[in-house]
């Protein structure tokens, strides 16, 4: 009996401690995430344009209906998906190759792994500046390289037309995202026990068969995490668009992130901006859950 009451008292004090210890963090998070989220929902249900002060009013789901029946939503959505799919494919393909390379034992491996942190540490805005420079129509290194290699006969504006602008945007964006994906996949590879490979070699499995039937299935959980994370990130791309293309040329790179920005902070329509941001959030969350269920299913039974 006595032990029980002691336990109960301990339980109480642990709960109290937990509340006290975590209160500052929870309050900060609540103030800047939960409260704004509530306000964002509120704004999205109102006509709220800063250019017309005093005319704010509740309009229910009208903003949402307007977007869903407007090509200004569907076209950026399509652009966003084109970009995100391209970026995820490129990031996963390259980082898988690099991770496989770094999983081999060779002198100098540590150096290569350390230098991966250089692109990772570069802020997205500086990365955009870097690629703006590399792709410059008169000075750009990529023009110079292509020219010297004889691929082009005169310098081009690679950000001036489709599809080249989308391709370079995907490459530029992926460049700083590949390192983290590589490190994650590498850590996934390192959990695969070496003796599985050894017995596969004894059984006569070739390089491709070992990759296809050992590496890929065993890497699948980590691969799923990387794909989901990269998808979430790519769908809300904004920084690089701001510096590199500003949605252009002719709306070719007008992704939803950019559409939300111009709608809200240039047209000052906070109601419409909030509702399209909610739509993007819902799409992202929905896809993340879908991917999670879909990608995770294949990993359980072996």
């Amino acid at each position: 009996m006595k032990a029980e009451t002691n336990n109960e008292r301990k339980e109480m004090s642990q709960g109290m401690l937990a509340v006290l210890f975590s209160a500052p963090a929870v309050l900060i998070i609540a103030a800047t995430i939960l409260v704004p989220f509530g306000l964002a929902v509120f704004l999205s249900l109102h006509k709220w344009n800063l250019k017309r002060p005093g005319r704010e009013r509740f309009i229910g789901l009208e903003n949402y209906v307007d977007w869903l029946t407007d090509s200004d939503f569907w076209e950026p959505l399509q652009t966003t998906f084109t970009f995100a799919i391209g970026a995820v494919l490129l990031i996963v393909a390259v980082s898988l190759l690099v991770a496989l390379l770094l999983n081999e034992n060779f002198p100098g491996r540590g150096l290569v792994r350390a230098l991966l942190l250089v692109p990772w540490a570069i802020p997205s805005v500086v990365n955009a500046l870097l690629w703006k420079w590399l792709l410059n129509p008169q000075y750009g290194l990529i023009n110079a390289l292509w020219f010297e290699l004889g691929i082009i006969t005169e310098y081009q504006n690679m950000l001036g037309s489709m599809p080249s602008v989308m391709i370079w945007l995907v490459i530029a964006y992926s460049w700083i995202h590949i390192p983290l994906a590589t490190l994650l996949l590498l850590s996934g590879l390192q959990t695969i026990p070496g003796d599985i490979y050894e017995s596969a070699i004894v059984d006569g499995a070739g390089l491709w068969q070992r990759f296809r039937f050992i590496t890929l299935p065993m890497l699948r959980p980590m691969l799923s995490i990387v794909i989901i994370f990269e998808m979430i990130f790519a769908l809300k791309v904004f920084d690089i668009i701001f510096v590199l293309t500003a949605g252009g040329p002719a709306n070719a790179t007008n992704v939803l992130g950019w559409q939300i920005y111009t709608e809200t902070f240039r047209k000052l329509d906070f109601g419409a901006g909030s509702s399209i941001a909610m739509l993007l959030g819902a799409i992202t969350l929905g896809l993340a859950i879908l991917f999670y269920v879909f990608l995770d299913k294949g990993t359980e039974p072996q």
């Binding site: 963090a25 103030a31 800047t32 989220f37 190759l97 540490a121 570069i122 500086v126 939300i260 993007l280």
Partner: protein, 290 residues
């Protein structure tokens, strides 16, 4: 077999060379360009190494703050150094506060047994799923209404809340790795919970705290969306904002733009290379168990 091993190594090194070139090549070209004269940059084929080494644009950036409007130095160069300092203030404050506040929040999640523990952990993590863009709209609106726009303290506060879930997650997984016996020994010696945290958990978690602090610093340093939306004057511009002002201005000469880019990444790149072990372990434990 020996032949086979040699081929294997050759393939590996060719691959490694390509990876290295792709990893640091673009950035090295940015650095090289920043030390050249603008007209040299038009050379075909490109001039790989600066000759002579030109420091004009660096001088502009470091002396820009004291040079007047009529010195011919671009506006962005004149405000750059201040923004650089602002980035240090914001990122440094966020890192320090996030580790401090995050440690206390992480401890009960790692060690205490209380009702709602999973709800709390899940809630903290789930808060990161809401896209920043949708939160930015009301945050900017409210900040302007209550006069908190264009202030560094607002940026610290906002960045803090986006970094905290990550720091808490990282620290609670680190705290769990500390043997329970050490804590029990402290309890038997009469330490209160607070003393256990201060005298046992925190000192033993120094590597974890370092990882968390550096990651918080680097993520905040690179933050752009809120830095852009919550600043109105150079007093609160961070370096990413000034870099974006440089990069989107067609009238500024290229070397100045490039130099701003190079200088603004010196701190994060130095940090990343110096603390690479902490960063890699932090990145992996932060996402691995997620």
């Amino acid at each position: 077999m020996k032949q086979h091993a040699r081929i294997r190594l050759a393939v590996i090194y060719i691959g490694a060379a390509i990876v290295l070139l792709g990893t640091i090549g673009p950035f090295l070209w940015l650095v090289s360009s920043s030390f050249q004269y603008e007209r040299q940059l038009l050379n075909r084929p490109p001039q790989w190494l600066p000759n002579p080494v030109v420091l004009d644009s660096y001088r502009e950036i470091f002396e820009g703050a004291v040079l007047g409007e009529d010195s011919g130095v671009p506006y962005q160069s004149r405000i750059f150094l201040r923004s650089f300092g602002n980035s240090f203030i914001v990122a440094g404050s966020v890192a320090a506060i996030a580790v401090l506040v995050g440690s206390y929040a992480a401890y009960p999640l790692a060690r205490l047994d209380f009702r709602g523990r999973n709800v709390l952990l899940f809630g903290i993590l789930a808060s990161r799923l809401i896209p920043a863009l949708s939160l930015a709209i009301p945050i900017v609106l409210v900040a302007k209404k209550i006069g908190m726009s264009d202030r560094l303290v607002s940026l610290v506060f906002i960045n803090l809340s986006f970094i905290l879930p990550y720091v808490i997650w990282l620290l609670q997984s680190y705290f769990k790795s500390i043997p329970m016996e050490l804590e029990d020994a402290g309890r038997i010696d009469g330490c209160s919970r607070l003393q256990v945290v201060h005298k046992i958990i925190l000192p033993l978690s120094l590597p974890g705290l370092t990882s968390a602090g550096i990651l918080a610093f680097l993520l905040t340093w690179g933050e752009f969306l809120f830095a852009l939306l919550l600043s109105e004057t150079p007093a609160s511009y961070t370096s990413t904002v000034v870099v974006s002002l440089f990069a989107t201005d067609v009238d500024v000469n290229f070397v100045s733009i490039i130099t701003a880019g190079v200088v603004s990444v010196i701190p994060p790149i130095c940090f990343a290379l110096i603390f690479q072990r902490f960063i890699i372990s932090g990145l992996l434990s932060g996402s691995l168990k997620g």
